[in-house]
Amino acid sequence: MRVTVLCWGHLTDYFGSDGFEVELPEGATIQIAVTLLEQREPKAAGLTRRCRYALDEEYAPLETPLYDGCTVAILPPMSGG
């Protein structure tokens, strides 16, 4: 299945701010998508552990299953205000 991944904060330095698509096996979870990112950019490895995650614009835990066409966002600690 095709999944869109969006990264924010300092992660945009590694992965860009426009998002990108990845091909994942059926049954993949947010965790699988995160692991893929960590493999792509080793510097991001420790960093994604302090992030929160969203599936289709709602907070979701790492074990949430993904589906074809969905959007996963990796959200580092926030600094609005």
Binding site: G9, H10, P77
Partner: protein
Amino acid sequence: MAYAAIVNEVIDVPALTERVSGVDNGAVCVFIGQVRRNSRGREVAYLEYQAYAPMAAKQLLRIAEEAEAKWGCEVGVEHRVGRMELCEASVVVVAGSRHRAQAFEACRYCIDTLKERVPIWKKEVCPDGSFWIEGEEAIEVSDVPRETGS
């Protein structure tokens, strides 16, 4: 009715305040978060705010609705994104209620909760470098090429 928005332009504080200034309200509380010159011992030239806009707008609205329900008041919030100079407002929260206690509490709840829950990130651009602010951490902006590791 609660109102919240992520905006690209200068926040119109009087227009936002007008939303919660109905005749039933005896108190209107306005909180303005603005760009400060110093951060963590560094001089700040300007800030750049980035938002996951659709999710941020939803979360902001939910926070405003929670405050309205909890304190029986009217709430409006705008957060600006993009580049902001010193003294410019990055966020404005307005709350109107019959009496002042509810408006103060609602305002405080919104700004405190916003910082925890709304997907917005700040980059501090300083004379000696740029830093992503993530929670309590400042991470120097990296220029690593994106193809690294692929």
